[in-house]
Amino acid sequence: MGRVRVWLERCAHLLGIAIIAWLLADSLRPRPAAGPEVVGTGGLAAELRRWSTVAAPGEVHLTVDSAVSPAHREWLAALAAAGTGVSWDGDSVPPLAVALDPVPDPAGGTRIWATAPPGTMLVLEDDVGAIDSVAAGGTGARFSTGFPLRAVRVRSGAFVAESVLRDSISFGRVLVVGRVGWESGMVTAALEERGWEVDARLALSPKGDVVQGGPLEELDPARYSAVIVLDSAALVGPGRLVRYVREGGGLVITARAASAAALAPLRVGRAGRVVAPVEPFDTSAADPRRSLGFTSIVPAEDAVPLELRGELVAVAARRVDRGRVVLVGYDDTWRWRMAGGAGAVEAHRAWWAALVASVARVDHAPLPGIADEAPLATMVQLLGSPSSRPAEAAAAGRLSRGWAFAALAAALLLQWLSRRLRGAP
């Protein structure tokens, strides 16, 4: 037993010497070039100053754990251009992007489009604070505000994408064509109350029609941002309307009016089932348009359904050359304004304004402004694709030396303890 113990002590002693020799040899081996300097987003500002002044590292690596400001990104790109190897990683960086558009609406609304992975909670903010939040669907989310915004941010956790308004827009008049009735009266009123300048041609009697605005010489997209056809009774020269749309004009047409054969080139779909209105109007329903009767639409192949009532399409849209056409299946939307719940007047006005805005032809004038609309894409564009963290490789080297030192200490301690316990010096 005693011999075995002495033998084991010697083994531990030899192991210790061997480890010391390995460590010595390892330290004497020629070292590879120094690894990159690794920094997180939080320390990037200070490191950038240091890298650009006192230190000049050959290689730097950024671990992106929160939003990188555009200035810092540009700075890193400049370092890369000056010869410093710049790499980055960021597994948790969501591919956020945001765009802000003015709505062709005299009331000055904005539309915000955000892309993000499904399920990402997106918070919309402006300079003052949070405006709204929503979970992203399949491709992202969209917001619309009834008031103008100059700049917005979409935030997901610590990551942010920003957008500023790129264009100011100017628009022309709206032409309403139909019969004298509550629908034409209230749609015209709604658009005028919204701020649109409206011309109207409303059929009334063989003795005369009700008109507003000057004589209708030509349907010119430069004059009319949109045409609303509620009824084809007063439609003079459907060919002019087709030409107007092809040249870039916007058309909102009801299913009732769209059946005219001459308007076939503008057809968004064919009429489907007729759904009767709910009477009396259900003011408690979450969606007030549920109480409206409508002719469902069977959309054409290249048409986009915009609003569904269960399985049926109530509103659909289609591009025709340079113009856009929205087909509205609803009848008597004036009932919504008159008999809907609280805020129905404003909601009806806003809905019609949105319909017009979705087709209206507008002139754009660029605005100055810098934004960070797609931070991840810009990062990739400037610094290349993300790479793995070099810090992990360096850590592996440190880890093996550490283990060797621990083994050395354990071997020597074991030998010393064993000797002391058996009384040896």
Binding site: R179, V180, G181, W182, E183, S184, G185, M186, A189, L202, A203, L204, S205, P206, K207, G208, V210, R256, V274, P277, E279, P280, F281, T283, G293, T295, D331, D332, W334, R335, R337, M338, A339, A344, V345
Partner: protein, 206 residues
């Protein structure tokens, strides 16, 4: 498919809302004669304190007796006009000092503010037929049956130039409250029913 124009007579709790039951027929008749408006062949009577009121954006109110609206009636009428409904009130009394006039104008002014004289060159008088001298006179005014007063203007609650509430002392209710088959003794040059076309067309296109 879409709802036609429906002539609605307002039922209110006080007074005699039903005093001119043949008015809807006459107005619908004259509208059909001159226009291609989509028309409901029958008028409806609608309680002004009901939600149903809002399905009819044209409302006719008439009567002889004092009118005192209930709180619900007041609230509904105010909201009705705010949403774009057109209210046409006719004094069946044809009496500037009558109780209907006094109480109804008091109620209307309490709800909507001051009633104003509608200028005789207002679009109301050229919306379909031309009435260059303002509202046409009625047989009551001309034959001395009434109080020998010729009311040469209508009144209204205005928003700018737009009439939201039209108020008449001319007693069109009596004029229009005749059987369609009756051979009326027309002493005047113009058929007073024609102003109904202007009123309805104006209401639909204001």
């Amino acid at each position: 498919m879409s709802k036609p124009f429906t002539f609605a007579t307002g039922i209110y709790a006080s007074g005699d809302w039903e005093s001119a039951s043949l008015v809807p027929q006459n107005v619908i008749d004259v509208l059909a004669k001159y226009t291609s408006l989509e028309l409901n062949p029958e008028g409806v009577n609608v309680r002004i304190d009901s939600q149903e009121l809002f399905e009819y954006p044209f409302l006719f109110i008439t009567g002889h007796l004092p009118v005192f609206f209930t709180p619900r009636e007041r609230a509904n009428l105010k909201e009705y006009v705010r949403r774009g409904g057109f209210l046409f009130v006719d004094d069946h009394n044809h009496d500037i000092d009558g109780v209907f006039h006094k109480t109804m104008t008091e109620e209307l002014e309490k709800l909507f503010g001051k009633l104003e004289k509608i200028p005789n060159d207002h679009r109301l008088y050229s919306a379909f037929f031309e009435f260059p001298d303002g509202p046409p006179t009625t047989s009551h005014e001309l034959n001395g049956w009434g109080d020998n007063l010729v009311h040469d203007y209508l009144m209204g609650i205005m928003e700018g130039d737009r009439i939201d509430v039209l108020y008449s002392n001319k007693d069109y209710s009596s004029e229009w409250h005749v059987k369609l088959t009756e051979n009326r003794d027309r002493r005047q040059v113009e058929d007073p029913a024609k102003i109904a076309v202007n009123i309805v067309v104006y209401a639909l296109t204001r």
